[in-house]
Symmetry: C2
Subunit: 131 residues, 2 copies
Amino acid sequence: MSKPRAKLTDNFPGCPVESTLSFLDGKWKGVILYHLLEDGTLRFNELRRRIPSVTQRMLTKQLRELEEAGLVERTVFPVVPPRVDYKLTPLGLSLEPVIAALRLWGKEHVICENGRKYMVMPEAKTPSKAA
Amino acid sequence: MSKPRAKLTDNFPGCPVESTLSFLDGKWKGVILYHLLEDGTLRFNELRRRIPSVTQRMLTKQLRELEEAGLVERTVFPVVPPRVDYKLTPLGLSLEPVIAALRLWGKEHVICENGRKYMVMPEAKTPSKAA
DNA sequence: CGGCATCCCGAGGGATACTG
DNA sequence: CAGTATCCCTCGGGATGCCG
């Protein structure tokens, strides 16, 4: 709801880019959004399982920030073993093209393996034979 | 060139998103890329002027990281007043859809004003009267 | 003009332990 | 199950000053 949630960005042509990125800021927001887009609704530990190297502290924090930003909706069920669902709000869902673009570029240009990243150059010059 | 420039990402479905975001990490990479996409080639101070609140230290750092990542090419002209040009590499240019998506979402959902950001909700429920 | 070098601070974020 | 609460430390990043 139009909170002045500002992080001092430039009021300049590139600003929309800056602004959008500021919502994806933090180490895990992108992946969280990705999984919520994929699976619709997820419980806390379901998310954890999908993002193995996140700690519960960080997952909680990032989810709260996403919630505050109005991108994620948190639903608490008052049941014996606590149950909390996370899903995207309409605003969160509107990020789908952004996440899709990020994902596509990653799939095309980055090899993710054993927690390492390797760049994949576009113009494969294949100097003589690929390494 | 396939340097193991890793920042420990998850080897999981969301990984491409993570990976791509890791290249946009840092406070200014997104905007820098945006402006280089817009203008093609820019000198150091031309970039500074387009990103008023960046310090030269930070601009330098982020440019170096983009260069190391293979997204930006730096050309030094050995002339009396030093001249350095920055432009995108083919790999950098390939990020165009990503930046475009970021920019579009920002333009549609964020109002950037006086260094503040205001969210623009999609479903204007106007409960009774907007606050 | 286009940088480095240095100092310094606070936020980001990991590890661990406890709780309703 | 889904968190809080602490501790602690790295490092992102601003400010300032000097240089070829």
